[in-house]
């Protein structure tokens, strides 16, 4: 394992950095809020979420945007700590999709 999929510093061909300001979507702000709440409740540490994102399948990791990764790692930590089960999360997501439609 020479280099993790998250550890891109100095990788050639990255191109210039997009420094333009961009508006956050509502769901991204919500993802941040949930993440902060989990921290305040002592459920997760930043290092744990980083480790979870590093352990993801590399292709899966690359397919997600920044806040999608945050949500995915929050789900994993809740399952790891036996607060929610995968089935409970999937059931709730299915409910939301039924109510609001699949995005």
């Amino acid at each position: 394992m020479p280099r993790g999929h998250h550890d891109l510093g100095g990788t050639p061909g990255g191109g210039p950095i997009d420094r333009s300001e961009h508006q956050l979507e509502d769901w991204e702000i919500l993802a941040d809020a949930v993440n902060q709440a989990l921290g305040a409740k002592g459920i997760r540490r930043t290092d744990e979420l980083r480790r979870i994102r590093e352990e993801m399948d590399a292709e899966h990791y690359r397919s997600m945007s920044y806040y999608e990764r945050w949500i995915a790692s929050a789900e994993t930590i809740l399952i790891e700590k036996k607060i929610l089960t995968r089935e409970e999360i999937d059931r709730k997501v299915a409910e939301f999709e039924k109510r609001w439609g699949n995005p």
């Binding site: 394992m1 020479p2 280099r3 993790g4 550890d7 510093g9 100095g10 540490r45 290092d47 744990e48 980083r50 480790r51 590093e54 790891e80 700590k81």
Partner: protein, 97 residues
């Protein structure tokens, strides 16, 4: 007077360990094996390599701000030879150089 933290002092030459192992680590790949100097001693912090797995992070580890010459880090670096790069690195990732 505050007790000194860690075994390195500002100005000491250090080499980042060329270690490659699984698990959560905070030392970026591109800086491993590079030689620099201690710019500042940040203090002692819980070990993220332990916190990442839900453990207590003890014992605390000294953390340093390490300076590098850009030309030393990147094989082909054509900008100013005075350009520097600073990275936070824990003591257990450093050897004397």
């Amino acid at each position: 007077m505050k007790e000194a933290v860690g075994k390195y002092r500002p100005g000491d030459r250090v080499r980042v360990r060329m270690e490659d192992r699984p698990g959560h680590i905070r030392t970026p790949f591109y800086i491993r094996g590079k030689t620099g100097w201690v710019e500042r001693v940040h203090g002692e912090f819980l070990n993220p390599e332990s916190l990442a797995y839900g453990r207590d992070g003890l014992p605390k580890r000294p953390l340093y701000l390490i300076g590098f010459h850009q030309a030393e880090v990147w094989g082909e670096y054509s900008a100013s030879g005075r350009d520097k790069l600073y990275v936070d690195i824990y003591e257990h990732w450093l050897n004397p150089a």
